[in-house]
């Protein structure tokens, strides 16, 4: 994983332009569904806005309070068991869409966060605390507990695997 600036730069705008072009083509082929999709987008955007506010605050505090040395200590190569635990717990408690968290992870990566812990954080997000009652309702308590246990264990394994595959960039 490259130690890059969080840079959508032109890439981000290009991505948006490609998506908008897709909308344009889709509108020509199927105006009704495309309008429906845009209405859906506006509804989701309204739901995502508070999460974006939270992301902005987290980015600000990460910039303000987290010096690279501190990140290295708690989430870097030498963080040990505490680092794994911190990324699993943070992943489980993180809210909102995953792409909103990429920026926070990229920021922490620049400050020295281990690649493995980023992958672990992203995987442990699969345990959705607020949705657990619903999962229990649909699939049962035993199923939910066993699945969550495996998700936590494998979030660490995914981190280890990623770090083995991308060792030279750490």
């Amino acid at each position: 994983m490259p130690r890059q600036q969080i840079h959508s730069g032109t890439g981000g705008w290009l991505f948006l332009a490609v998506v908008l072009t897709g909308y344009g083509i889709s509108f020509l082929l199927n105006p009704e569904s495309t309008t429906e999709a845009f209405t859906f987008f506006r509804r989701v955007m309204r739901q995502v806005l508070p999460v974006l506010g939270l992301v902005f605050l987290l980015l600000f505090f990460a910039n303000l309070l987290l010096a690279p040395a501190k990140v290295n200590k708690y989430l870097g190569r030498e963080s040990g068991l505490k680092g794994w635990l911190a990324s699993v717990v943070a992943g489980i408690f993180s809210m909102g869409p995953v792409y909103a968290w990429y920026a926070v992870m990229a920021e922490l990566q620049q400050k020295g966060m281990r690649t493995a812990l980023i992958a672990t954080f992203l995987y442990s997000r699969a345990v959705k605390l607020p949705l657990l009652p619903l999962m229990i309702y649909y699939f049962g308590l035993s199923y939910t507990l066993i699945l969550c246990l495996y998700l936590v264990v494998f979030s660490v394994i995914s981190g280890i695997l990623i770090e083995r595959l991308l060792p030279q960039k750490i």
Binding site: M1, Q4, I6, H7, S8, G9, G11, G12, W13, F15, L16, V19, L20, S26, N30, S33, A37, F38, F40, F41, V44, M45, V48, V55, F56, L59, F60, N63, L64, V98, Y99, A100, Y102, A103, M105, A106, E107, Q109, I118, A119, Y123, R125, A126, K128, L131, L134, Y138, F139, S142, Y143, I146, L147, Y150, L151, F154, I157, S158, I162, L165, K169
Partner: protein, 145 residues
């Protein structure tokens, strides 16, 4: 004065970062909305029933392509289960729904690096199949399935 400058610098850096990620997030939301609207929600249960591993792979593939709130995966999973699809396939779908993101891949690659994004998604796909098998086998072992 120094603290004030530090605060100002941090705020400016955060705003710059935020402006950078904004087109990605808006693009992602637009793409997700289009995918959800254009592609049919109901998946033919006839595609399943070809054995544990093929079913798990199919479930994992559907979950990887699908985009939307995890809640939707529970609803779909519940429907599939009642339609006779195996718990292994449904579990693989539930897990990849939240761990693999084909639609999110461009955004992940832009912010965390292409190699990281590709490897992470491939690993997550494989792990989802293992988790699906382990979960159901563990349930059977405990007599809870």
């Amino acid at each position: 004065m120094q603290t004030e400058n530090h605060l100002k610098q941090c705020l400016l850096k955060t705003i710059r970062t935020f402006i950078d990620i904004l087109p990605i997030i808006i693009g992602m939301l637009l793409a997700t909305s289009l995918v959800i609207t254009l592609f049919p929600e109901e998946i033919s249960t006839g595609l399943f029933g070809k054995g544990d591993i093929p079913d798990a792979m199919l479930g994992a593939t559907i979950g990887s392509i699908a985009a939307g709130h995890p809640l939707a995966s529970y609803l779909l999973g519940g429907e599939l289960l009642s339609g006779g699809v195996s718990l292994i396939a449904v579990t693989a779908l539930l897990v990849t729904w939240v761990t693999v993101g084909i639609v999110q891949l461009p955004a992940e690659a832009l912010m965390l690096g292409t190699r990281f994004a590709v490897y992470r998604n491939i690993i997550s796909f494989g792990i989802a199949i293992i988790i699906a098998l382990l979960t159901v086998y563990t349930l059977q072992l405990l007599g809870a399935a």
